[in-house]
């Protein structure tokens, strides 16, 4: 079975015939079926489907699983390929994998996630024998210079010796809040939601750990766009290519506020009062480790 450029042919699914249904989801194109999903980037470069400026197989896998969860599928665990960051995927979706959990029996995993040679993925039940999806419409050719410059910047950032000094977010500091950052997991105290998570309350007692989720929609309270020269050093390679970076201050329906970057693949002029939703995207890389987080977009 190969997942790459899918054929623009009527789809046939083993065990029954069903029409494909195509939609946009968190900046990607998805074609869904009963127990399977095809998801791909919207960008084409030199006749290949390529990832957008802050996407990769991890962010798209998370989007795909969230799509399936949103449709009511229960995915407890999944077989992953090496290109997907299993820990980030777990923190964002709660879906386990053998890459993360050694105690997980291979046979008890009911789902597969397969990455293609291009920026495509399939998520399907493990017992599925074949896939065939109708190619989705709506791809666009990405500017070649922009694509090449971004690829080069990400490559440099991901080198092991690329280290920030000063405002350094270590891996332990990053992972301490990663679940809240990737899935909007919030603490509940009485009728109040706390996000980002806090440790002790005013009585010196530990606040219960995150067991709620904020609604993944929020209202823009303020915004700014930092010039490339004013962007933090972690973004210094990519900010000039992007023409600066854009940050929103938003308030969730349940009360908490947060600050989020806007996805790199949208041209968005924010206004106070806009409603935005979120998708997992690359933030920056350091010392060979990619930092992921939610980014805001009005279109998701």
């Amino acid at each position: 079975m190969s997942v790459g450029r899918v054929q623009p042919a009527p789809f046939i699914f083993s065990g029954g015939i069903e029409m494909n249904e195509q939609s946009h989801w968190k900046g990607y194109l998805v074609v869904e079926n009963l127990d399977s999903l095809y998801i791909q980037s919207t960008y084409i470069h030199e006749d290949k489907i390529v990832y957008g400026p802050d996407s990769d197989s991890t962010t798209m896998a998370i989007a795909g699983i969230q799509f399936m969860q949103n449709k009511g599928h229960h995915i407890a665990s999944i077989h992953l390929t090496e290109s997907v960051d299993a820990r980030t995927l777990f923190l964002a979706t709660g879906v386990d994998s053998t890459a993360l959990n050694e105690d997980l029996e291979f046979e008890e995993i009911e789902w597969d996630l397969l990455t293609g040679e291009e920026a495509t993925l399939v998520i399907a039940k493990s017992n599925t024998e074949s896939y065939d999806f109708e190619a989705p419409q709506g791809v666009e050719i990405i500017d070649a210079d922009f694509y090449n410059d971004m690829e080069a910047a990400w490559k440099t950032e991901q080198e092991a010796h690329h280290v920030s000094q000063g405002a350094y977010v270590s891996s332990s500091q990053y992972f301490e809040g990663a679940e809240a950052r990737l899935s909007l997991a919030a603490q509940g105290v009485g009728d109040r939601m706390i996000w980002p998570p806090r440790q002790l309350d005013a009585n010196g007692r530990r606040i219960p750990s995150e067991s709620y989720s904020l609604d993944p929609e929020a209202q823009v309270e303020s915004w700014t766009k930092l010039s490339a020269a004013g962007a933090p050093s972690e973004f210094s390679l990519r900010a000039p290519i992007l023409g600066g970076i854009q940050t929103l201050l938003v308030q969730f329906k349940q009360g908490p506020r947060g600050v989020f970057l806007v996805s790199d693949d949208v041209d968005y002029s924010p206004k106070i009062g806009d409603t935005v939703s979120f998708a997992v995207r690359r933030i920056y890389a350091q010392e060979g480790m990619m930092r992921y987080g939610l980014k805001a977009n009005p279109e998701y």
């Binding site: 000094q165 405002a167 977010v169 700014t224 940050t247 930092r291």
Partner: protein, 408 residues
């Protein structure tokens, strides 16, 4: 020490009489791009402070020292204070670096004041230092923004220009304020700093030029942002029972207030008010028995013009939401409004060597109240001054009130 001073000291130690604290000397380097390193800059500031003391003074008389610094760029991160005092004749005394971001030396001043108030010391040095311009542009950017909630704000692409830009846009949305009001602040502070020989940027700017500056973090332009400066500042405090040994013209610290708040803007209940400033100033006014109406001049923390606008509200110089009108009407202009805001030029013009800024503000107030600044920029009839030093985007704040007279 005469017998009355001695008696007061003993009663102070017993907690029966609260010791009053005065500034007997204060000095600083010029702010800007320095050829000198940390030791040279600190020595220059200390030397200027020592020489400002009217009567005989020797560094060996100092009991304790508190020196604020962020140690920007990682320079001499450990034992900063011991290294600097070693080079300013302050050998052997207890010293330490105080770090509270841009409010480091505001808190060093508070710690020095408390050391004397507690009766444990009679003469204490409070100072600050930062060397920011000996770093490459890239390395400098690593360090700007280290005092935010890095795990959340940095991952959202924010450094302080961005954080204050979020505050500014929200303030414009909620209140009668606009970027034009920030331009008025920028023009005023450049005008005040123009004649300050210690200022980093001694250049007047027109409204038209300031409003059309290069966009740094929308809506803040270059003219809304303070420069990154090298500099050091030093003030020498003394207990009331020893003050007259050094000067007959002290400046008294009428009160000290301080507070903290959430580091991250998004964790605070309001993004258009700094609650730490409100709390610190409330405590300072109350302890001094004064209100904002009694203040003749205020050195406020205008790292960005919106920070000054919000400070005029949070310190009580205008009502909440009226900071824009306060700036627009020129109420903080020297010798024109009810209070002179940033007679030194503020961080915008005088400069902002992070750890040196708080005690640098005290140097300005000391000189203004003693009438020793350049004639052209003297605030008329200055009797009471205030300093307002903020760390990060409002996480820490120290407010001090100074007067020609002691508390009644």
């Amino acid at each position: 020490m005469n017998i009355i001073d001695r008696l007061n000291q003993m009663l102070g130690l017993l907690g029966l009489v609260m010791v009053d604290v005065a500034v007997i000397g204060a000095g600083q380097t010029k702010y800007g791009n320095h050829q000198l390193g940390l030791k040279g800059m600190w020595a220059e500031a200390a030397e200027n402070a020592f020489s400002s003391i009217d009567k005989n003074f020797e560094p060996r008389q100092v009991d304790e020292a508190f020196i604020g610094s962020v140690a920007f760029g990682g320079a001499q991160l450990g034992n900063t204070a011991a290294l600097l005092t070693e080079h300013s004749g302050l050998d052997g005394i207890p010293v330490r670096r105080v770090e509270n971001a841009c409010a480091s030396s505001g808190f060093a001043l508070r710690d020095a004041w408390m050391a004397i108030k507690s009766g444990q010391a009679d003469i204490v040095v409070a100072g600050g230092i930062e060397k920011m311009n000996d770093l490459s542009a890239e390395r400098k950017r690593f360090w700007l923004g280290v005092s935010g909630d890095t795990e959340w704000e940095r991952l959202a692409g924010l450094t302080f220009p961005g954080t204050y830009a979020l505050m500014a846009r929200r303030h414009f949305h909620e209140h009668d304020s606009s970027h034009d009001d920030l331009v008025h602040i920028s023009v005023k502070n450049h005008m005040h700093g123009f004649e300050n020989k210690d200022a980093h940027i001694r250049k007047q700017v027109s409204f038209e030029k300031a409003e059309s500056g290069f966009m740094v973090a929308d809506p803040l332009t270059l003219y809304d942002c303070c420069p990154t400066s090298d500099g050091a500042s030093c003030v020498i405090l003394a207990a009331d029972h020893v003050v007259r040994q050094f000067t007959d013209d002290p400046v008294w610290i009428r009160s000290s207030g301080a507070a903290s708040d959430h580091l991250a803007l998004h964790d605070r209940p309001s993004v258009t008010q700094l609650l730490a400033t409100q709390k610190a100033s409330r405590n300072a006014y109350s302890a001094a028995g004064l209100t904002s109406k009694n203040i003749d001049l205020a050195e406020v923390h205008d790292c960005f013009t919106i920070a000054e606008l919000m400070a005029t509200e949070d310190l009580g110089f205008s009502k909440q939401g009226h900071g824009g009108a306060f700036a627009r009407e020129g109420l903080g202009v020297r010798n024109e409004g009810p209070v002179c805001i940033n007679p030194s030029g503020g961080l915008k013009s005088k400069g902002h060597p992070l750890g040196a800024t708080g005690t640098g503000q005290a140097v300005e107030v000391f000189k203004q109240l003693r009438g020793t600044v350049e004639d052209s920029r003297q605030v008329r009839d200055a009797e009471i001054g205030l300093t307002h030093n903020v760390g990060g985007s409002g996480a820490t704040c120290a407010v001090h009130i100074f007067g020609r007279d002691r508390n009644e």
